[in-house]
C-alpha cells in the first residue's frame, strides 16, 4: 500500500522509510512544550482514531467537484480521492515534461535515478511530522521539468476527501524538480467534501535549479472538520526565482511549515499569504528562509484578517549565514482583528551572522484605519460596507504577484465572499 510497492527490496527508498519510522518513534507528535508548537495544539487531533487506509476506492464525477478546479483555464491535473489517485479526473503528461505520480515514477528506471538524487533530500529528517510522512506516505505528485522546458499549462494538485470513512488521515508526498532555465506553475488544494474529520499531513519537496522559475499557490479553504499540516521544503540554486502564495480561508486547524534554503547566489525567494478566518478556525504560518550564499533576496508579506474566535500565528524565521553577505531579507506581517475574541501571535525570528546585509521586519496588529473609513463614509458608503471594502483592499495587494489572472480573480472573489459584504461591483 505504498508508492514503492513495485520496487525491489534493495531500493534505497526502503532505508529512507525505516530511518524515518525510527525517528518518528523517538520524537512522537510535537507538543506545546516545543517552542515551534507553542501556539498550535495537536491534542484534539491526536484523540481522533483516524483511518489511514480507506477500505474502498471512491469515485467522483467531474461535475461534483468542478468548482474546486481552476476550470476557467486548461490545466494539467493530478487528482487524488481519499488518498488514491484518480486517473479519471486527472490529466497527466510525459510530453517533454513529466507530470505524473510518485508510484508510477518509481517503477521506471529513468525516473528512479532522479528520485535517488532528490527524494527526501531537502525535507527534514528530524521534524517529526515530516518523518511521519516520509515513513508512511502512500502517494503524491511527481513533477520533473527538464532544462529549458516549461509545461504548456499550469498544474493542479487536488486532494479530495469523500467522507466515506468516518475519519481519515492522508499523507501525500510531492516531489517537484525544475531544472535549469525551466518554469512551472502549481496550484495545490486539499478539499473535504463532507463534515467528517480529515487530517492531512502533506510534504512537498521542490528543487529549483539555476535560473528556474517556480510559482506555487496553496489554496486552503477547507471545511470546519478538515485539518492540514503542510510541510513544504524548497531548495534553490543560482538566480532561481520561487514564489509561494498561501491563501488560508478555512479549515479547522492549518499549519503551514514553509522552508526555503538558498544554495546559490542571486536567488529570489518570495513568501506571501492572505489569511481570512472566522469561527474557531486556527492557522499557523511558520516560515523559514535560510540565506546560505551571498547576494540573495527574500520577500515575505503575510496579511491576516481574524474574526469571531479565530486564532492566528505567524512565526517568520530568517537565518543569514556568515558567508551570505549582501543579503536583502524583508519580512512583513500585518493583521487586523475584527473581533474582540480573535487572537494573533506574531513573532519575527532573525538570526544574522553576516555584517553586510539589509534585513527589515515589521509586524502590526490593528484595527482599520479611521481616516480611510471616514473617506469612504463621506462618499456615502455605510460603515459596514466600508469595512468590507477596506479589508478587501488590505488583503488585496498581496495578490499583485499572482501571475495567473484567472486564479487572481478567483482569490479576489473568495476574499470578497469571506468578508461577507457587498462590494457593489463585480470582480
Amino acid at each position: 500500500m505504498a508508492f514503492e510497492n513495485n520496487v525491489d527490496m534493495d531500493h534505497p527508498i526502503h532505508d529512507i522509510r525505516s530511518e524515518a519510522i525510527k525517528n518518528f518513534e523517538t520524537k512522537g507528535f510535537p507538543s506545546k512544550k516545543e517552542e515551534a508548537w507553542k501556539y498550535t495544539s495537536l491534542n484534539s487531533l491526536q484523540k481522533i482514531d483516524f483511518s489511514i487506509f480507506p477500505k474502498e476506492e471512491n469515485a467522483l464525477e467531474y461535475h461534483q467537484v468542478k468548482k474546486y478546479f481552476l476550470h476557467e483555464i486548461d490545466t494539467y491535473k493530478i487528482v487524488f480521492i481519499d488518498g488514491i489517485y484518480s486517473s479519471y479526473l486527472s490529466e497527466t503528461t510525459h510530453d517533454g515534461v513529466d507530470i505524473c505520480l510518485m508510484s508510477s515514477a518509481l517503477t521506471k528506471p529513468m525516473y528512479q535515478q532522479v528520485i535517488d538524487v532528490y527524494f527526501n533530500k531537502v525535507a527534514s529528517k528530524e521534524e517529526s511530522l515530516t518523518t511521519l510522512n516520509t515513513a508512511f506516505s502512500r502517494e503524491g505528485a511527481y513533477i520533473y521539468i527538464p532544462k529549458n522546458k516549461a509545461p504548456k499549462k499550469p498544474v493542479e494538485i487536488l486532494h479530495f476527501a469523500t467522507g466515506n470513512e468516518a475519519t481519515l488521515m492522508l499523507q501525500p508526498r510531492n516531489l517537484i524538480i525544475v531544472e535549469e532555465n525551466a518554469e512551472l506553475q502549481v496550484i495545490e488544494r486539499h478539499q473535504s467534501l463532507t463534515s467528517n474529520e480529515v487530517l492531512t499531513n502533506c510534504v512537498t519537496e521542490i528543487f529549483a535549479a539555476k535560473n528556474a522559475i517556480v510559482d506555487y499557490y496553496k489554496v486552503q479553504n477547507d471545511t470546519k472538520k478538515a485539518s492540514l499540516i503542510d510541510n513544504t521544503y524548497i531548495a534553490q540554486k543560482d538566480k532561481s526565482v520561487v514564489k509561494v502564495h498561501t491563501f488560508s480561508f478555512g479549515g479547522k486547524l492549518t499549519r503551514n511549515n514553509l522552508n526555503f534554503y538558498q544554495n546559490g547566489e542571486h536567488i529570489d525567494s518570495t513568501l506571501k499569504g492572505v489569511t481570512i478566518l472566522g469561527e474557531k478556525q486556527h492557522v499557523d504560518h511558520h516560515t523559514l528562509v535560510h540565506h546560505q550564499q551571498p547576494n540573495c533576496e527574500s520577500h515575505q508579506d503575510y496579511k491576516g484578517i481574524y474574526g469571531e474566535r479565530s486564532t492566528g500565528v505567524f512565526n517568520g524565521k530568517i537565518i543569514v549565514d556568515k558567508i551570505a553577505q549582501k543579503t536583502n531579507a524583508f519580512q512583513q506581517n500585518n493583521n487586523v482583528l475584527i473581533s474582540d475574541q480573535a487572537t494573533i501571535n506574531t513573532k519575527p525570528q532573525l538570526e544574522i551572522f553576516a555584517d553586510d546585509v539589509k534585513c527589515s521586519h515589521g509586524c502590526t496588529i490593528g484595527q482599520l484605519d479611521e481616516d480611510a473609513m471616514f473617506y469612504l463614509q463621506s462618499r456615502g458608503i455605510p460603515r459596514k460596507e466600508a469595512t468590507g471594502l477596506l479589508m478587501y483592499a488590505f488583503a488585496n495587494n498581496v495578490l499583485e504577484s499572482v501571475r495567473l489572472p484567472e486564479l487572481k480573480q478567483r482569490i479576489n472573489k473568495l476574499i470578497a465572499t469571506k468578508l461577507g459584504v457587498r462590494l457593489g461591483f463585480d470582480l
Binding site: 473617506y375 456615502g380 458608503i381 457593489g424
Partner: protein
C-alpha cells in the same frame, strides 16, 4: 442651505473651532481663507461628520435639519461632499468600481435600484471628459500611486459623479500645477448651478482667480474674523496673514 451657528468643536482636549457663524445659500460660492492651523480643515471635516471632532456648542443645520447626530455616509446621501486634502489610497478597488459602489449605496439609501450599467458607463464617460481624465486612469486602483494632481482631479471627478448640493473643497489647489488647476477649476465652474453651493477652503488667492467667490471669509484661531467679497482675497494676498495677529479682533 447651510447654517452654522456659534460652532465650537474640539479634538480630544484641544478646542479648535471657537464660535463659527456661517450661512451658505444655494447658488453661492464661499471661500474660506486663513493661515495654517486656523481651523479651516477642521471646519470642513466637522461639516462632513468626522467623528474625531466633538461639537461642544452650537449647531450645523443643513436644509433646516440638524446634522449633529447624522453619520458621515448619511450626510453624503443628503448631498454634502468633501473633497479631501489628502485622499486615501484604496488598493485593489478601481476608480470606476469605487464610484459604482458610492453611487449605488446612495441610491439604496434613497430607496432606488442600482443604476443600470449602461447608464453608469455613460455618466462616467461624460464626467471624465469634463475633467479631461484618461479612460485608463479609471481602471487604476483608487489614489494608489496617483500624483498629487491626479488625486485632486480624481476628487473633483467624484464630485461630478455624485452631484452634491454642497461641495466643500479642502485645499484642492495645493499640489496642482497651473494646467491642472485650470482643469479642476473649469470642472467646478461647469458643475455650478443655482441649486448647489461650493465652499472653497484655501490658503492662497490663486484658485480664486479661476473660481470666483461670492463671499470670502477669513478664519483665525477658530473664528471668522473678517468677511467680504472677492476683493478681500486680493487684499490678503498683498498683506499676508500677519496683520491678523496685530489687529484686535472685533
Amino acid at each position: 442651505m447651510l447654517k452654522i451657528k456659534d460652532l465650537h468643536a474640539r479634538v480630544e482636549d484641544k478646542e479648535i473651532l471657537k464660535g463659527i457663524n456661517l450661512e451658505v445659500k444655494p447658488g453661492e460660492v464661499h471661500a474660506i481663507m486663513g493661515p495654517n492651523g486656523s481651523g479651516k480643515s477642521t471646519l470642513a471635516s466637522v461639516i462632513a461628520g468626522k467623528e474625531d471632532f466633538e461639537i461642544t456648542k452650537g449647531t450645523i443645520l443643513f436644509e433646516g435639519e440638524e446634522l449633529d447626530e447624522v453619520a458621515p455616509e448619511e450626510r453624503a446621501h443628503k448631498g454634502i461632499f468633501l473633497s479631501f486634502q489628502y485622499p486615501v489610497e484604496i488598493p485593489g478597488v478601481s476608480v470606476t468600481n469605487f464610484m459604482k459602489t458610492a453611487i449605488n449605496e446612495s441610491r439604496k439609501a434613497h430607496g432606488k435600484e442600482d443604476m443600470p450599467a449602461s447608464k453608469m458607463l455613460k455618466l462616467i464617460r461624460e464626467k471624465s471628459e469634463l475633467l479631461d481624465i484618461d479612460r485608463k486612469f479609471l481602471s487604476r486602483s483608487l489614489n494608489e500611486g496617483f500624483s498629487g494632481g491626479e488625486k485632486k482631479r480624481n476628487e473633483i471627478f467624484q464630485m461630478a459623479m455624485l452631484e452634491p448640493k454642497l461641495a466643500i473643497l479642502d485645499e484642492t489647489d495645493s499640489g496642482l500645477d497651473i494646467d491642472a488647476l485650470r482643469i479642476v477649476a473649469n470642472g467646478v465652474n461647469k458643475l455650478k448651478s443655482k441649486d448647489n453651493a461650493v465652499i472653497l477652503i484655501t490658503h492662497y488667492q490663486r484658485l480664486l482667480e479661476y473660481i470666483i467667490p461670492d463671499f470670502v471669509h477669513v478664519i483665525h484661531d477658530g473664528k471668522i474674523v473678517k468677511s467680504g467679497t472677492k476683493e478681500l482675497a486680493l487684499e490678503l494676498e498683498e498683506k499676508g496673514y500677519d496683520w491678523l495677529k496685530k489687529e484686535p479682533v472685533v
